[in-house]
Amino acid sequence: MRRISRFSKPSGARLASTVRPLAPLCTTPRAATKPSPSPAVNTARFYSSRQPDQLPASLASGKPAVPENVEEIVVEDVGLQKYTPEPPQQRAFVPPPAPSVAEPADAVTDTLYTPATSAEGLETIGNLKSWWDNPAHWPKSSNFVGFKAKQKVQNPVLLEAAVRRALTETLVMKQLGQEDQLTGHWGLQDKAQHDAVLALDVRVDSDGNATVTGDLQAVAEGLVAKGDGSSVEPTYALPSAAEALALKEQADQSWKGTSLQDARLKFAVLKRVMQLTGQVVPDQKLADIATARGLIATLQKPPKPKTLSKEIQTKKPELVTLPNVAFSPKRVTRGHKDQALGRFKLIEAEFRKRDLQDGPLSVPKSRERQHWRGEA
């Protein structure tokens, strides 16, 4: 335990970092699967004079599309030394160009040159702080790619399809005796290989022991194959929801009884499911998962709603439609009441008339911090 309170390090003490070799990252982009949208409630009565069928922005299921802030940034030539550019294949990131200094006005030989007297018409340049926000300087291909799928899959049918695929692949590796490969890193294959995995027949006996029949060797080779980097790596992770549903209806459901008591098998299946769906099963739930069916149930359990208003809308939508109840996504304050009555805009107008308040009445949360830092 520390005896004195923690102070932040002075910024002047920061040093340029040393270089470490980059850990082997999985560079395969994942197939994006959108989570199933939550049902919008159209019949809600909200505590506002706004249109009742319009869901407030904080409750809308999808995030508003934020346009990418693409700015043309030119760097100030402050404190930069001459940089010899690297060969193009090594330049995924583009650093600022070497600084160049314009010749002084009195040394210009061009007779037509007239020194500017105002800044009007000059190009606006950014600063070095926002240099890497420009997509031309930091291409998307250089973004960090982790192990788990970028988009978390929450569609129950897709989750079941992912478990089926992960389980079959794991059983194949186990059956072929490649135990050491169970904890390794498996690549994502193309659709043909995915279909080959699903074409395998999984038979489960009464003890939950599964046997896979079919072309096991081809599947195993596809899993541990390392890309040579020359071609674009396959991106196929999961079928579409409709395809997964069709597959589910066709397939025999007995595979779900496969026992996952073997810790090694369970670890491999969970790891593959994490890679395919982005779903991480917490350690605490591991002991309760005894079969594939249990794993599917754990994954399919919807996450706890983050706010009470979302919980009411998803779990008890009948409360929102009650005729004698007004539903508000946030706590109703004096401001909301003024807005509902139409008084708020009058207050703002009066302020404006007296030149007391320009803009909305609310003060940003960070204003006080800005004062402390001496920024505003």
Binding site: R20, L25, K129, F144, D283
Partner: protein, 286 residues
């Protein structure tokens, strides 16, 4: 009495089942160890339930946090009494016959610039707590995180790996301005944290390592809204409870538990042998 009815047999069976099979919690719980940056599961281990699966004790956690808060107070507030304020202690004016109120000296607490009555003086606000209770609080906090799925254990040597191009650019002097280096580091760290669902949108994270890691710590200094990084000697119970999750280096977790299990292993030697702590960190799958 003749009218007494016998209990149904099903109930008695149930009772005997409960009586004969007491609840025995598992002595160990599984812990997945991940690769730090990619979040790829590396192996499965078994840790003692007495370390990571203790029942929640809100009261003990409260005691520990208050104890830490007390001991963190500086206690340096100081004010001067009338006897410490500088100046002459001469009576300002005669007691009588001036028409004004009677006064004493200039340092009187009633006068401006006078001393402070009962003002603060430097003191130690520190309180005590039994070591075994404090250690229990420490492991209770870790157990609370484990149970909620907010304890991510990563492999030793947890450090933010930067892309190799970054090192090249620094080496060649292309990033001589600190803003460029900081901007790069912050953006990369933001991508890593968002990609692993550890960032701002997911409740911030506390990264705990055995010692200070240059890239990780400097990046987290730049991103206070994404979490914080602490080395072992800077961690206390309150830190374990604050952000959305703990991302802990395996060695750091083992050390935290080793140094906070005084209630589990006695210091007293019995028959020449000191009782050993519960076995923990056994590798199940690798």
């Amino acid at each position: 009495m003749a009218t007494e009815a016998t209990l149904p047999s099903a109930t008695s069976n149930l009772t005997t089942t409960f009586m004969t099979t007491p609840w025995r919690p598992s002595p160990a719980v599984p812990v997945t160890v991940y690769d730090f940056q990619t979040y790829e599961p590396q192996r499965l281990e078994e840790w003692s339930s007495k370390h990571l699966h203790l029942p929640m004790r809100r009261d003990i956690l409260h005691l520990a946090v208050i104890f830490e808060g007390d001991n963190t107070r500086q206690g340096t507030a100081s004010s001067k009494t009338r006897y410490e304020v500088r100046g002459s202690h001469k009576k300002l004016r005669p007691q009588k016959k001036t028409g004004d109120a009677r006064v004493g000296d200039k340092q009187s607490p009633l006068r401006r610039g006078g001393g402070k009555t009962f003002g603060p003086k430097p003191r130690d606000f520190g309180t005590g707590m039994n070591r075994k209770v404090y250690d229990l609080a420490w492991r209770t906090a870790l157990s609370y995180r484990y149970r909620r799925g907010e304890l991510v254990v990563c492999e030793d040597g947890m450090e933010l790996s930067m892309p190799h191009e970054f090192g090249d650019m620094v080496k060649h002097g292309a990033l001589r301005h600190q803003d460029l280096i900081d901007g790069f580091k912050a953006k990369w760290a933001r991508q890593v944290l968002d990609g692993n669902e550890w960032g701002r949108a997911h409740g911030r994270s506390t990264f705990i390592t055995t010692d200070r890691r240059k890239n990780l710590f400097s990046a987290m200094d730049l991103l206070p809204q994404y979490g914080l990084a602490l080395d072992l000697e800077d961690v206390d119970v309150k830190d374990l409870l604050t952000t959305g999750r703990l991302v802990v280096e395996r060695k750091a977790l083992a050390e935290m538990i080793r140094s906070h299990q005084s209630d589990l292993c006695s210091k007293v030697f019995i028959n020449g042998v000191r009782p050993s702590p519960p076995e923990t960190g056994k590798i199940i799958v690798e």
